[in-house]
Amino acid sequence: MNIAFWIISAVAVLGAVLAVTLRNLVHCVLALILFFIGIAAHYFLLRADFLGTVQILIYVGAVAVLILFAIMLTHNVTGVDGPKELLGVKWWSGAAIAATLAILLKKAILSDPLATLLPAGDKAQSSVAEIGKALVAGWVVSLEAIAILLTAALIGAVVIALEEIQKS
């Protein structure tokens, strides 16, 4: 299964890189979807089936669609995103910061003994029933808080987006 890890990782990294570098916004979103699917595949690989499915359901099914709609509502629908931004100071500084951060993080990770920990294999089995029980037993307050947050976000998003329409 090592090969699976490398393939999926390559897909995810490719998706992420394309998502933030492509010129066309819609292509960016499609690449982002690739990235999301890669992450979901990683979850499946890590035997967190439920999370993987949730990832597809929420990110691919909802968030990506939401972003697409936002592009449709804000931009020219062809999604072409202005002149090239490469090679500016902004680009170089941003890329440098990100690269430095990645290198430093890698160093930090490798300096820790945890980095060489090998997987638990079949012992790590996610049980949906267990997650469900934990959600409504020990974490019910968090669950309710999330519910309220989502409701508030729903209403807030509608209010923010509708405001100007009502004025005019």
Partner: protein, 671 residues
Amino acid sequence: MDHLHKLARQQWLIPAIPLAAAAIQSLLPRSAKKLSAGLCLMAMGISCLFALRAFFATLGHAEVVRAVWNFTWFDYGTVSFKLGFILDPLTAAMAAMVTFVGFWIFVNATGYMHDDENFTRFFCFLSLFAAAMLGLVVSNNILLLFMCWELVGLCSYLLIGFWFHKPSAAAACKKAFITTRIGDVGFFLGILMLFWKTGTLNLYTAEGTGALQRVGELLGPGWFGWSVATTIAVLLFIGAMGKSAQFPLHVWLPDAMEGPTPVSALIHAATMVAAGVFMVGRMFPLFIAGGSLEHPTFAMDMVLYVGAFTALFSATIAVAQFDIKRVLAYSTCSQLGFMVMALGAGGLVPGQFHLLTHAFFKALLFLGSGCVIIGTHHEQDMRKMGGLRKYMPITFVCYLIGMLALAGVPPFAGFFSKDEVLLVTFQRSKLAWGMATFAAFLTAFYMTRQMFMVFAGKWRGGDHGAAHGHGGHEPHEVPWNMWLPIAVLSLFAIGLGFFGGKYAHYLGAEEEELSGKALVMGLSVTVGTLGILLGWFLYGRKPLAHASDPDPLESKLGGLFTCLNRKWYVDEFYEATIIRATMVGGTLFRVIDKRLVDGILHSIVWIVRGISQVCRWVGDEFFINGGFDAGCQTVRGSGWLMSKLQSGRVQNYFRILGLGTIILLVVYFLK
């Protein structure tokens, strides 16, 4: 007892059902009148069945039974907040009364509010109120009680101001809310102190660790030289004074009559105003802790005299009112005074018993007045009524029963309970007893006055008909859904008194032989009869002929009558003292702030400026400036740099964030 514990676990259903109904009703469209009323009545009916089941389960035990069910609300660190529900005779009787009376009041309201376009909203509020009130009754936790207490206050606010387009109603609801809130400050302080001292807010627990089970620990010194228990009790009683309209916080109750009449019956006669009395009863161990009959605590004295004074004071005002509902409102104040007084005299049982009987007959009277108001096409001035006996026979009979009960005529419920109250007061304080007896006399008198003005003589509504444009209508009997509730309630107003003796045992008082029973009873019957006779003498012999005729009593009493009619000028007194004082204080402080403080400030500024001028002339220009200017340049330069950071560009902030993380990591490695 197992059965009781099972029932205690289900106590939460009693408030939950109306709450669910309210939740559904709040979503209904305006046109769903029947559905809304049906839901409301159904919820109340089911609640009533539950309450009655609980009530009958508490009957027939040899001693006082008490079952509680506590559960953890949430944990905060090591402290766990618990809530709980209780089932004991006090709760059971109160819950049964509230649900039963409430149900019939709701039935009446379907008739009274029939043509109102906000019918659905009204019933939604009613359901919510019922839920809050029942929650208050069944809670075993002072915090839950307080929450429900505030919620009934809110509902009262909403319902008094139901016709908020009337300025008087809007003012009245604000007044009610704010006045009770003054009392609630005391209440909340009491709760805080209780929690501080005992570390729990649960009243009873099965293990005996509840706050009320440990009052023995609260006898240490508190404020003003009282014991802790007394301090808490006094603070709590301040809350009760606000809610139960005791002098001097009684002013909101008469104004609250701006609300629809079923609201007056439900909230301002039967249930919410009694919540204060109920709360005192619930917290009774705190009030009596550390005292005895001979040496009562300050809290008990305070309760006693506040109650007695309110009883008398309100009764005198009721004598001179012309608005049919205001008479009843002051009467309610006065009767609440009786209950409070009884509690203050140590008589938990008479106080609660009077609460129950009063709830029935006062709800009856209010609903009756509602019927009268509907029957006379929204007329509330008693001078413009008269002769309604002919037009509204059913209402008349029921109203008469209610009036006799309130006046304390022997076979009716009011006689028994009031007699108990007077008797227990007689043991404690002759002064209070005297005041109460005089108040009883006045009660009989003003009720007789009202009866004669409203029902006797001839119809005087036509006098002003031309002016109002609708006065030409004859009064008429109300529909069945309005008279049926008062008929049912009048049955209880007749019969409930006979259970008084059992009730005492039920609430757990020892059977003790009280002295002066014959004297008190005889005197109370006598003053009642005298009051009725006086009423007949003044109003019955020669009823008012025209709406504009002067009141017979007015000619006898003269200026005093005006004074009574204006409620002893209490509102004016508040206006002139507290409100004016606040305004004056505000103005004063503003003036002080502007003149004095600013003046001082300005003079200091002038002085400093003068000194600085001198300094500048002396050496500044020559010595300091040279170096200082260079420093200034540096500061300006750095400020310019810093302002570049605050560019408003999100990504710059982001970038700095990233850089910061990198620096942190670098520091981590170099460490």
